[in-house]
Symmetry: C2
Subunit: 386 residues, 2 copies
Amino acid sequence: MTGDTPLDGDLHARAFLARVLEPGDEVGGRWVRELGAAEVARRLRTGGPQLAGVTDRRWNGLRARAEGTEPERDLSAADEAGVRYVCPGDVEWPAQLDDLGDARPLGLWVRGRPSLRMWALRSVAVVGARACTGYGAHVSATLAAGLAEAGWVVVSGGAYGVDGAAHRGALGAGGATVAVLACGVDRPYPRGHTELITRIAEQGLVVGELPPGEHPTPSRFILRNRVIAALTRGTIVVEAAHRSGSLVTARAARRLGRHTMGVPGPVTSGLSAGVHELLRGDAVLVADAADVVELVGDMGELAPDRRGPVLPRDLLEPAARRVLAALPGRGTAAPYDIARGAQTTEDDAIARLYELRSLGYVERHGDGWKLTRQAVISVRAGRGRG
Amino acid sequence: MTGDTPLDGDLHARAFLARVLEPGDEVGGRWVRELGAAEVARRLRTGGPQLAGVTDRRWNGLRARAEGTEPERDLSAADEAGVRYVCPGDVEWPAQLDDLGDARPLGLWVRGRPSLRMWALRSVAVVGARACTGYGAHVSATLAAGLAEAGWVVVSGGAYGVDGAAHRGALGAGGATVAVLACGVDRPYPRGHTELITRIAEQGLVVGELPPGEHPTPSRFILRNRVIAALTRGTIVVEAAHRSGSLVTARAARRLGRHTMGVPGPVTSGLSAGVHELLRGDAVLVADAADVVELVGDMGELAPDRRGPVLPRDLLEPAARRVLAALPGRGTAAPYDIARGAQTTEDDAIARLYELRSLGYVERHGDGWKLTRQAVISVRAGRGRG
């Protein structure tokens, strides 16, 4: 690899930097903000001029990591594996990640059909202990199922324990779930969750800021948590011991102005002690999905269902428009029937339905979906014009 | 009984009114505040003039209850049974009950050695469901034992479930406990707690505003709760279903400016739902005695141990002074040895030790008691003067 491969595209530059800089590197984030990703990548490739605020030793370390990095290969391999690289400026980029400032991910590698941006609009994180109790697993699954049934997207970290139970609870309710990994999205971690993560990629989204093939490390787990916190409207902690990583996520959520919630448990359980610590602070106690929805659902600017759809129907993507057209004028329809009407698969229909839910067009009732009152009005108005 | 028995003493008048007015009757409390207990009693006995704001029907009802009321007999029967009637103005009257305004009890019937006023100074209420779970019983007992070990007086209602577990936890730790009953203190309720309440009267205090022989009623239970709330520095609810009486106590505590605390439990348990409701409001989550002490222990004006004893040693009652004198100059002593040194029983010694604790003279360490640093200084100063 020589220094003369062109790196003009912002996407290529970011894919390159994603291999060189660790997640959440705020110094690197500042370079990108001040000079642009392409210029930072060029300097690291060609060897200069040296970037601001960096020691010679660190500079040489970064240069060594830059050596041999082939973003084109990463991007084309990702593309072949059905993984896309979503970067700031992209229509799918979730704008709320910008709240992370210079610690904002360079981009996110995304596996799965739905629009990350749309899904993240109405999402909540459910996180907690890996070695959770039966109580914690039960509560996580029930909570996630309830959130999914209420049309919310459940975000978690794909780990054993609470994370896995939450993903499974959402999937089991025919709902929407997103796993944010601390490694390459092509490399499910933990190994025991390979099938689960594959299923999430089919029915939902698997995302991560680390390029394909990268392994998780303790610091990557911790830094991944800021993405979960920033992506969602709020973070719910179900079981966490004192000094647990889930508390890091909750505190990050708090700092970002997101809702921080905790599910209490027996005071005789060390795995509830961390949650109780949060609840003694700013976190709000939630006992079920209804409590969560009551809390996170009333953020004026993010509650399009209060005001009708946020996006005119004509601006919807064709796939979403077909699914919308397949919904009956009144009453509910099952995803299977909607999929048939839209001539797509059920998984794809569900992905679009949750996007349409985020936009205020549809709502979920039990296992069925129906147009919102505002959507009916907007569709009729559209027909009237057509 | 005729209307001509003299009722001049305030104590007699209050004992008389305690049979005529129901607990917490604010109209009656206002009459007493405006006219004095003796005058209100005289009018009810002699038939006039009729009191303000009362319908003829209610006036006749009160007159009928007044008929046949013999406060002298109540007071002498109580005296024989070792029960004293403590009224506002009495040295043993807990001044914090005055926060109840016109709903302040007319007086409290008290069984047991310790000074109610002294004990109430450093007391906390532990209340909750009668039909509690094993978890609730375990937590109540552990919490009460921990509070007792930290020198705090545990107040509860003597009922089955959480109340009983809390009293037993305090007694089992060789600690101080007060049962506030919704009936006459000579008539333990529930029957199944006869032995427990008898033991509380021996090692602690059994109090109530209802005269000897009175039965509990649903409204008396509810009104008793305001006394528990007002007497203590804070109320901890351990397990309560929605609409539980314990929540009434907690809300009364809140209105009175006392600390309101709740012990969380599994969200899958209906008996924790009421507590979680409180915790979503103003109540503070507590997981153990240390959490409680941290919260209730820092009220400046009620924390004499921060400033040294609040009462000069010379003003202590002789029994308390003897117990104080029996404590070693340094290190701890067991209640048994202190009792021997003070030439009294162990129960009496413990009663005085908790009084002295309230006054900032002594502190409890495990099973032993020692002088506080401030007390050592004060005792030395006293000796220097003597």
